[in-house]
C-alpha cells in the first residue's frame, strides 16, 4: 500500500499536506501524532470514506483513492473507527457473520430460498464461532452487541475486521477507553495478526503500547509526516516529543 502526495483540506484547514508514505509489506505500523495531525483523515482516505484533493493511493499497484468503501474493502482492506461502530441490535455472532465477504445469501434471489445459502451460512457461523474463541468472547454469541462492555465492543469490532479476512487492517485507536486488562488482550491479538502476514496500521496515543507492539512508527504533525522509523529510535527524537506535547 502506498500514498503519494496526498492532500486534503477542510475549508481553510489543511488536514493532509502532500503526504507520501509507503507500507512495503506485512507487519505492524503505528501512526502517532497529536490531535489534528491528520491520522484519521489518512485512514478515511485509505478506506474510501474521503476523497483526497490531490495525490493517489495504491494497493498492489491499483489506484484506490476514488473507489467506494465497499470496493476498497473487497480489495482486502478492513478498518475500525475511533468511536466503536457495531450493529448494536444484532447479536455478537451475527455481527461476525455480517462482516464476512462474498456471502451467497446476500444475493436477493438466493436469499428467497433458505436451501440456497444454508450450507454457506453454516460455514460462516462456524468461522464466526472460531473468531469468538480467538477473541475470548465465546459464550456471548447471542448477546446483542450493544449490551457488551466498551472494551468488549472494541474487541468485537476488531473481530469484525478479522471476519473480513483482510490483507490490510486500519485500526483507529483500538485501545482508547479500554480497561488495562482488556487492552493487554487486544495488544496480544493485534501482535498475532501482525505475525500472520497481515499489514496492520494503527493509530494510538498510548506510546507504551506503540513501543511494545509496532515494528515501525510514523509520526504525523500538522498533516505531514514528521518522522518514521523503529519505535525505540523515533519516539525519543526531540522534535517528536515536542510535536506530541504541542
Amino acid at each position: 500500500m502506498s500514498c503519494i502526495d496526498l492532500s486534503k483540506s477542510f475549508g481553510g484547514t489543511r488536514a493532509l499536506d502532500c503526504v507520501t508514505i509507503s507500507f512495503p509489506g506485512p507487519g505492524i505500523v503505528a501512526l502517532v501524532g497529536s490531535n489534528g495531525a491528520g491520522k484519521t483523515t489518512l485512514f478515511n482516505i485509505l478506506s474510501g470514506f474521503l476523497r483526497p484533493d490531490t495525490g493517489e493511493c495504491r494497493i498492489h499497484g491499483r489506484q484506490i483513492a476514488y473507489l467506494a468503501p465497499h470496493e476498497i474493502a473487497a480489495l482486502g482492506v478492513a478498518r475500525t473507527f475511533q468511536d466503536v461502530r457495531l450493529i448494536r441490535q444484532l447479536s455478537v455472532l451475527e455481527n461476525l457473520c455480517l462482516a464476512q465477504p462474498n456471502q451467497v445469501g446476500e444475493r436477493i434471489f438466493t436469499a428467497l430460498a433458505a436451501r440456497g445459502y444454508r450450507s454457506h451460512e453454516l460455514r460462516n457461523r462456524h468461522f464466526a464461532r472460531m473468531l469468538l474463541e480467538q477473541l475470548r468472547l465465546d459464550g456471548m454469541e447471542d448477546t446483542p452487541a450493544g449490551d457488551l462492555s466498551y472494551g468488549q465492543q472494541k474487541l468485537l469490532s476488531l473481530g469484525c475486521c478479522l471476519a473480513m479476512r483482510p490483507n490490510i487492517m486500519l485500526l483507529d485507536e483500538p485501545l482508547s477507553g479500554v480497561h488495562p486488562t482488556l487492552a493487554l488482550e487486544i495488544i496480544e491479538l493485534v501482535a498475532d495478526i501482525g505475525k500472520s502476514g497481515t499489514l496492520v496500521i494503527f493509530v494510538e496515543h498510548d506510546l507504551e503500547a506503540v513501543a511494545s507492539l509496532a515494528d515501525e512508527v510514523i509520526v504525523m504533525h500538522h498533516g505531514a509526516m514528521l518522522a518514521r522509523g523503529k519505535p525505540s529510535d523515533v519516539l525519543r527524537l526531540p522534535e517528536v516529543m515536542e510535536a506530541y506535547v504541542d
Binding site: 478506506s47 474510501g48 470514506f49 467506494a68 468503501p69 465497499h70 474493502a73 473487497a74 478492513a78 478498518r79 473507527f81 461502530r85 457495531l86 450493529i87 448494536r88 441490535q89 444484532l90 451475527e94 457473520c97 455480517l98 462482516a99 465477504p101 456471502q103 451467497v104 445469501g105 446476500e106 444475493r107 436477493i108 438466493t110 436469499a111 428467497l112 430460498a113 433458505a114 445459502y117 451460512e121 460462516n124 469484525c160 473480513m164
Partner: protein, 293 residues
Amino acid sequence: MPYLLHLLILVAIYATLAVSLDLLVGHTGMVSLAHGAFFGIGAYAAALLAVRFGLPIWTGALIGMVGAGTCAFLVGFATARLRDDYFVIATFSLQLVFTNLCENLLSITRGPLGISGIPSLAMFEEIVAPQTQMLVIGLGFLGVVWLIVYRLAKSPFGRVLHAIREDDVLTRALGKDDRYFKSAAFAVSAAAAAGAGAIYASYTSYIDPSAFTITEAILVLSMVIIGGAGRTWGPVIGAAVLVLLPELLRLIGLPDAVASNVRQLLYGVALVGIVMLRPGGVVGWTNVHERVR
C-alpha cells in the same frame, strides 16, 4: 356477507401494501412516501393494458410490477446516498410527480375522469362468486408478499438491510454495497405494491388518480407504524386496524361528512398515541425478553 368480503379484500390489499412498505421502513430504515405511486403504477398498467390493448389483466399486472420494480430500482440507486429526511423528500417528490402525471396526461389516463370497465381477475364465475375469488387472490398475493419479505428479512440479505438501518457507514466499511441493497429492497417493495394496485384496479373495475395520492402513501405508512415496523405481523395488523376502524364509525351511525373528519382525527390520535406510548407498534413487546430489557 358481500360487505364483509369487501372489507376483507380491502384489508388484504392494504396489508400487502403495508407489508411491502415494511421491507423498506421496518427492515432497511428508509421511510418512503412514494408507495401510493407504485400502487398506482400497478393499477394503471393493468387497467390501461387491459382496457386499451385488450391484454389479459394478469399480463398487465405483471408488466406493472416489473415496471414499478425497475423504476424503484433506478430511483433507489439514485437516492441511496440520501439520508433520512432527504430520502423522504425525494420519495415525496416522486409521489407528487406521479399524481400530477395521472391527473394531467389526459390522453392516456383520462385524468380525473379515470378508467372504467377494468376486467376482473376472477375467472371462474360460474363456480365461485367473483368477490370470493377476489378475496382468495388478495389473500394469496398477500401471503406470497409476506413470505418474500419474511424470507428476505431472515436471510443474510436481510441482515445487511438491518445493518444499513442501524449504521450504513459501518455497513459500507464491512464491504457491503449499500446502494445495491437499498435499491433491491426498494424494487421488491415497489413491485409488490404494484401487484396490489393491479388487484385493486381489477376489484373496483374503476380507477382515478385520487386513489393513489400522497394521502394513500401516508395511510400505508401509518399502517406500518401503528402495527409495528419491522415486526412479522405488525403491518398486517396495522392495515386491519386502519381499514376496519372507519367501519366502526358507520356502525355508530355518524353521517358520512362527519365520519370522514372523525376518521382523520382517529388516525392522528392513533399515530400520536402509538409513537408516544408504544413505539414498537401494536405488536411491539410481544417478546417477553424484549419487554424486560
